[in-house]
Structures are given as C-alpha cells and as structure tokens.
C-alpha cells in the first residue's frame, strides 16, 4: 500500500499548531453572546420544596432564567427513562441541575445563579455502589418500577440492571481445580480530565430553529437528545461540531447543550455556557467505580478451570450508559483467556453521584486490575512465571466470548510475548525495591451505523464528507484510505466534518470503532467513486473499466501506462458524461466485532520509606491489525498508557458526605511531563479480516492494563499487594508497615 501505513501528520495539524483551530469557547455565533451559568444542587440527595427565581430575574443584566418549567415534562434514558434534564422534586447528586441563567456577562450570570433560592430537605445519600445495594440504603428513585425501561432488564431498588452469564458448570469447574483463589478489589471513580471543559454555544432563530455549537463526540445522538428534551423535530436542531479539546468518552452525552438552547430561546440571544473545571469534574460522565470479586479455580499446571465473578458498578443518579457498560463488563470480565466454566454477575447500581459514562475502555481498567492482579497472585502461588501462566490460558482464534460470539484475529499470545521480550531485552537493574510486572487485556471492537461521502472534484482532488468528530486522528486515516483507493496523495484529499444538517449520519468517536465504522463507509464510498471514475475514463481510453488502474492522480490501462487520463480530466469529463458528477455516499452498520489485545510490562522502583513509585521502563505491545497511520496509532497508545498510569497511581474522585472533595486539578492528580515515563511501543500487525484494509481499533486497549501492571510491578518490587486503586505512596507505606508487623 502507498498511503496506508505511512506516518503522516494529521490533516488539521497546521490550524492546531498556529492556534487557529476553533474550539467550543472560540465560536462566534453572530451577535453578542450571553454568558450562561448552571444552578446546581449542593446536596447529594435532597427533596426540593421550592425554587424561587424572582430575585435573579430582577437583577440588571439578566436576560433569562430557566427551570424544569421551561421544558416539556419528560424523562429520558436509553435503557431506563430515569433522568429529567432539570430536577423538579428531588436532587439526586451534588451537581444535579436545578436551573440555568443567562446574563450579559459571566459575573452577572454568577451573581444571578447565587440569587436563585432553592429550599431543600436533605436526605441520606449513598455514593458507593456496594452500599447502595444494601436493603436499608436510601432509594434514589422511589418510582423506579413505574419508569419505562428496556424489556428484560432486571431491576430492583437501586439496582437498575443485572446481567448474569453462565457458561459450563462453575461448581464442577471448581471441583476440578487443584487450587481456588478468591479476592476482592475496588476501583474508585476516575475522570477523563480532557483539558477543554464542556462548552456549548446556542442560538435560536425566528423560524424556531436551534443551532448548537458543541464540543461533542457524538453529533447525531446529541441532536436526538436535544430534540427529545425540547420536544422539537430534528429538522429544527442543528448541531455544529467544533474542534474538541479531548473527550475520552466524556463528551458523548448531553450536559450543558440543552440548557444553552432553552436559554437562547428564552433570551432571544445567543448563549454560551462554559463549565468551570470544578463543574466539569462534578457534573459530567466519569468512569464507573467498581467493586469486584474474582474467584478462580486452577490446576497445578496453571490451567484455569472456572471463574466466578461479581461486579458491582456504581452508575450515578441515572442509569445512563451504565446498563450497557455493566453488560459489556460481564462479557469481558474473564479477560483474554479460555475459561470453560463461568458464572458472572454484573450489577448496575444507582448512587448519589453524577451519571458515569463511557470513559475510554469503559469497564476495562477495573476488570483488568482485578483479573490481572489475581492472575499474578496465582502465578506466584503456583510457582509459574506470570507470562507463562497467561500464555497457557490465552484465548486463540475460534474461541468464544462468554456471550457466545466466536472470535477471529486473536493475537493474544504473540502480543504478550512481544511485550515480555521487549522487557527482558534489557537486564533488570541491580538493587532492592525494583520490580517488574506484566498484564494483558482485550477489547472488543464493534462497528456502528455510519455513512460517509466521497466525491471527485473537477480538478481531480478528492473530498470526503463525514459527520465524525475527529479526536484520534481518524480523519487523517480516512483520508489515507480514500487516497489509497483512488491513487492520489494525502494532500489531494480533503476531509470535512460537517454538521448534522449536511453530514451523512456518522458514528460516535468512541469505542475504538470510529475508524472501523467510518473507514468501512469511506472504503465503500471510495471504491464506488473509483468504479465511477473507471466508467468515465473507460470511454475516453476505449478500454474496459475493469482494466483501468488508478495511481499517481491518473487512470491508466493496466500494462499500458501511456494510455492514461488524469483524474483532473476525469473530474471535468464526468460533468459532460452521461453518468454525471462522481460522488458516492455509502453506509455500514453492525460490523463483526474483533478483539484487540494490549499487553504491557513495566519496571518500577519503589521507595519503601515514602512509598513513591518511580516507573523506570514501560513497554506496551498492541495488536493493531494494519496500522493505517503508525504515528496516530503510537500516539493513541502512548496517551492511553499515560491515562491508565494516572488511574493506577494517583487519580481518584473522592467523596465526603456525597460531595466530591477534589474537583480541581491541584487535588485530582493527573500525570505531568515529570511523572510520565517514556513508553516503548511495539505494534503487532496482522491485517484483520473485519477491519477496513485490515485495521483494528486502537484507542481503548492501551488504557486498560496499566493499573494491573503497576500493581504487579509494585508487588514484585516490595512484596505488597494493593487491592484498591489508586496505588498511592500512602497505601504502599501502610501495607509495608502491616507486612513488617505481621512478620514480627
């Protein structure tokens, strides 16, 4: 291939390095923009007895105040209709939306927000999923039984979804085992912490049409949500994408967009809402906290005979995507291993926090931390090398997921060996308190409804039209795919992400499937455009269309390159040709899922006195199929590793009395350049049958193993096992103390 497989800078890179990219807060919608501000519940759980907005409305400079009274009384939710945009009778988390204001400037809007008086009767609250399952826990949704929900959803009290998977006979599996291990793990909530906070700008014109400039990963679902919440037809809602300053799954669900629209409607002026960092931490869609119990039976030789797994996921005040994520968690809980006997219970439980969402690799790091920590424990107990234990149980082509889907293109063993080999290539440095750890995880990449257009311009250049918001470099990869098919260079291809009025329906930037879905659609559209080009050129060249090849911006007869016509000529000829302009829009959906494997290894040094962990080396091997753009692929892997390491060592949203106590970047500790180790990336490339030109999804896998890798490396270094993320210096010191006390 000529263009696919090349390390090419992103197509939009010049705007980004010159500061010209237009992000959410940079949009100029025309006219003076009002500043919008949300009024949020300070209480995690409280009955609302009165909301008084008069004082705010009277404040000079205030142009609109809105509450639930300004919206149709609907509840929404894909799995359970349990969420209202503004709270009416009850606030269910500290941050629940009560009202919103728009004013001439930020200062006035803040003042107005303070002037809105809300009477609360504070109720007992619960932020732990496990505690919320207890029979005497405060009930978040008293009327849950009356809510519409997807059929077959097992709901009871705060449990809004329970998925059970049974394969084989787990009791028999344990009976066959020589050793049985059972451990509990806890993973707290962590936040995506993109650098650009949530932002929306909206205007409402005289025809009743809402235009929303959104920093969103999901244009079409956002349009649908706004249309639903405001009860408007989709023709009256236009969502225009801006550049997006990081998302990682955190900008998939509507947050401030509906408020901006309803404020703009009431104020008859454009409104912009920019979340403060603290609001962003408290009111968006972070990673679900998990309580996990893993019980595993093994033979003396390390063969797994059974796994019984219980997962409790705290979803927040509404089910959101938690139901789907808990179901997905059940499917991936056993890890990339063959486990003949399984019993998995995965519970999605209401808690008094913001609704958790689809943070990069949802459920992945939590499951892998538990599963891969336990694999390490088992290896040590059985006296088997941790890599060897994993190889003995690793899944292979033809194995099935717990849900019964047959997997192909599995490269677990090769990927793991690559990571191990890279780590072992350098001898371990001398000294105490140095250790190594390894972990492996898989992700399943599906493909969602997507369409894309490809057209040939009259000058022979190519335009791609999508509705995909690009984060990972997908636009560049799409351009590479089209360039490959049409025989042009990347410079001749222009990719445009259009808004919901113009773009063909496109998938979300999520689930590592953007390239698979959109790349699939672009590949089909480019191939169709190629067919049309061949048709037009065939007449001119007096050849059979099937004998024509495209390369170097020309169309030529196979074997006779002198019989050629340029794409520019074809572009012009097409206008005079009976078949007309060359353009194709193609769609895909329901693509066969493929597994993607990440195997990581690390070397750490632990200061046993302070508990500080220094990462000396980090190796990430990943099975990526065909790397369409290795520069983007490595970028995804390095970035994913660093987010995963943050979750491993320093990140956690913590709560006191139901309120997040570290909703700022001083106390929510993401890695800086001084914390970040260099990441050695190794790509395992085998074209994948179900990906466009062999590509696999790459975005999520790298974030999954790091917490387990760190847990295992820390154990190797100083002999203490941390079961509760993050692995902070404080926990290590405490565990070392306990260990010394036990030895005495």
């Amino acid at each position: 291939m000529r263009v696919v497989g090349q390390e090419l800078p992103r197509v939009e890179i010049l705007e980004k390095v010159t500061g010209q990219s237009v992000f959410g807060a940079d949009v100029l919608p025309g006219g003076r923009v009002l500043a919008g501000k949300m009024v949020l519940s300070p209480h995690p759980h409280a009955r609302i007895t009165a909301i008084r907005t008069e004082r705010a409305e009277r404040l000079p400079g205030v142009k609109a105040v809105v509450t639930a009274a300004d919206l149709p009384a609907i509840r929404y939710g894909r799995f359970v209709r349990d969420e209202a945009y503004f709270a009416t009778t009850k606030a269910r988390y500290a941050g629940d939306r009560i009202a919103a204001v728009a004013a001439v400037d930020e200062e006035t809007a803040e003042e107005a927000a303070r002037l809105i008086e809300v009477d609360y009767e504070v109720l007992p609250s619960v932020t732990s999923g496990l505690e919320a399952m207890a029979p005497d826990a405060p009930l978040l949704h008293e009327d849950y039984a009356d809510y519409w929900a997807q059929p077959d959803l097992d709901r009871r009290g705060n449990v809004c979804g329970h998925k059970q998977i049974v394969r084989g006979d787990v009791e028999r599996g344990f009976a066959e085992a020589d050793r049985i291990f059972e451990h509990r793990f806890h993973v707290p909530m962590v936040h995506q912490t993109y650098i650009e906070p949530h932002t929306a700008t909206a205007r409402f014109d005289a025809s009743g049409k809402a235009t929303v400039w959104a920093s969103s990963l999901a244009l079409f679902p956002l349009r649908a949500a706004i249309a639903q919440i405001l009860r408007m037809p989709m023709t009256k809602v236009r969502v225009i994408p801006t550049e997006i300053g990081g998302g990682f799954g955190g900008k998939l669900s509507p947050t401030v967009e509906p408020a901006a629209v309803v404020l703009a409607r009431k104020a008859r002026r454009p409104v912009r809402i920019v979340m403060s960092r603290s609001e962003d931490f408290q009111t968006t869609n972070p990673r679900h906290p998990f309580h996990l119990r893993y019980k595993t039976g093994v033979k003396h030789d390390g063969t797994i005979t059974a796994r019984e797994i219980e997962v409790v996921l705290g979803t927040g005040f509404s089910a959101g995507s938690g139901v789907m994520i808990s179901q997905g968690a059940a499917v991936r809980a056993p890890g990339p291993y063959r486990v003949p006997n399984l019993k998995i219970d995965s519970y999605c439980v209401y808690t008094n926090t913001s609704t958790c969402g689809a943070y990069r690799g949802p459920a992945g790091p939590q499951l892998a931390f538990a599963s891969e920590s336990q694999m390490d424990i088992i290896a040590r107990e059985l006296g088997i090398d941790p890599v060897e234990l994993r190889l003995r149980n690793a899944m292979v082509d033809g194995d099935e997921t717990p849900a019964g889907a047959r997997l192909e293109d599995v490269h677990a063993k090769e990927t793991l060996l690559k990571a191990a080999e890279a780590m072992n290539a350098v001898p371990r440095p001398p000294g105490n308190n140095v250790g190594r750890g390894v972990a492996m995880a898989h992700w399943l990449v599906g493909g969602m409804a997507s369409s894309a257009g490809v057209k040939l311009n009259e000058d022979g250049t190519v335009a791609i039209l999508t509705g995909l918001v690009d984060l990972s470099g997908a636009s560049t990869s799409l351009a590479q795919i089209a360039a490959e098919v049409l025989g042009v260079s990347l410079d001749d291809v222009h990719v445009r992400t259009a808004d919901t009025d113009f773009a063909p329906h496109s998938t979300l930037s999520a689930g590592s499937q953007a390239l698979k879905s959109m790349g699939g659609a672009v590949l089909l559209a480019a191939r169709e455009a190629k067919r049309q080009i061949q048709q037009v050129a065939a007449d001119k060249l007096e050849a059979d269309p099937g004998d024509l090849e495209l390369d170097g911006n020309t169309v030529f007869v196979k074997g006779s390159p002198e019989r050629a016509v340029t794409l520019r000529e074809v572009g012009q000829m097409a206008l005079e040709h009976a078949r007309g302009p060359i353009v194709s829009t193609q769609s895909v959906s329901q693509l066969t899922p493929h597994p993607a494997i990440a195997a990581h290894a690390a070397e750490v040094e632990v200061d046993p006195e302070t508990g500080r962990v220094r990462i000396l080396r980090y190796v990430a091997a990943q099975d990526v199929g065909t790397a369409v753009n290795p520069l983007s692929v490595r970028g995804q892997i390095e970035g994913g590793v660093m987010q995963g390491l943050g979750q491993a060592l320093s990140e956690a949203c913590t709560f006191t009395d139901g309120k997040m106590d570290n909703a700022n970047l001083l106390d929510y500790k993401i890695f800086s350049a001084l914390d970040a180790p260099p990441v050695e990336v190794h790509l395992v490339q085998h074209p994948c049958a179900s990906g466009p030109l062999g590509a696999k999804g790459v975005g999520e896998p790298p974030i999954i193993p790091p917490p387990a890798v760190m847990a295992n490396a820390v154990y190797d270094a100083v002999g203490v096992r941390i079961h509760d993320l993050p692995i902070t210096p404080e926990k290590i010191v405490k565990a070392l103390k306990a260990k010394r006390a036990a030895q005495r």
Partner: protein, 157 residues
C-alpha cells in the same frame, strides 16, 4: 461600585495595543475577548493546567492568573505570534511532524512553554525539556512526542 477601567498599553506579538480595560480583567480574557486572540486557551482558570501559557516580559506565565493591568508596558507573546508570516516556527514544525498535537487544546500553551524554554536554554536535555513543559497538562499524548518535538526544534533552531 464598578471596578474602574484602566488605560493599558501592551505590546502583543510585536504590536503595541492600547485599551481601556476594567481593572479586574484577566490577561487571558483581555487576549481572547478584547483582542480576539483565541489561540490561547482556558483549561482550568486556576493556574494548574498551563493551557493559557503566554510569555510576558520574557517569562512564561499563566494568563488566567494575571490582571491585564499587570502587563501594562510589557511584551506579551502568544501562539499567534510564533510563526513568521507563512513560515512556521521550528517548534510548530516539530510538533506537527512528531505528532505532538492530538486534540490540540494544550498545544498553544505547550508551544509557548517550549519557546520559553528554548529562549533560555537552546539545547535542553530530555529531562530539562520535561521540566520545561511540566506546568502544562496534556491528556492525549502522554508527553513523549511533545518532549521529542521540543528536542527536535532545539536541533533545528
């Protein structure tokens, strides 16, 4: 009482601008809202993320924590002034080539951090480069490509 306005004169990317600004206007808002230089970003408004990094009087600072009035009479450099017309600054070229900008939101601040570093230390070690950008958070790249780009730019300039 309203915060009184103050006349300030600031040289922004080589061009002197005089404006009447309220005394409580931050340098960041001054650049973005009054001058329309929206390349400089706000990420936290608390001096923790570095997205609003600009160079004032030769020093890298967070524009969100400074009053515009404090910049009176000083030189301010922002991402918009980095390229020389059509010709990109070596840092911009290196960032593009290394894949050091992904979502691009931290990029303007990172570039200014890189410039402040190279202005002082034209040939930094890897560790010095990491220190140079340590006040700028990036959530996409893992920093490796950014450090690499700063080192490459140092070689070029």
């Amino acid at each position: 009482m309203e915060t009184p306005r103050i006349r300030i004169t600031v040289t922004v990317n080589g061009e002197a601008v005089s404006e009447d600004v309220p005394g409580d206007r931050s340098l960041l808002d001054f650049l973005r809202d009054d001058l329309g230089l929206t390349g400089t970003k706000e990420g936290c408004g608390e001096g923790e993320c570095g997205a609003c990094s600009v160079i004032v009087g030769g020093r890298l600072v967070d524009a969100c924590l400074i009053f515009a009035a404090e910049a009176d009479g000083r030189n301010v450099e922002t991402v918009e002034g980095l390229a020389d017309g059509e010709v990109l600054h070596p840092l911009q070229r290196a960032f593009a080539a290394a894949g050091a900008a992904q979502c691009g939101y931290c990029t303007p601040g990172m570039l200014m951090a890189g410039k402040a570093l190279l202005d002082r230390n034209p040939s930094p070690t890897r560790e010095e480069a990491a220190h140079g950008i340590a006040g700028n958070l990036c959530r996409c790249t893992g920093y490796g490509t950014i450090i690499q780009a700063v080192m490459e730019a140092a070689k070029e300039s």
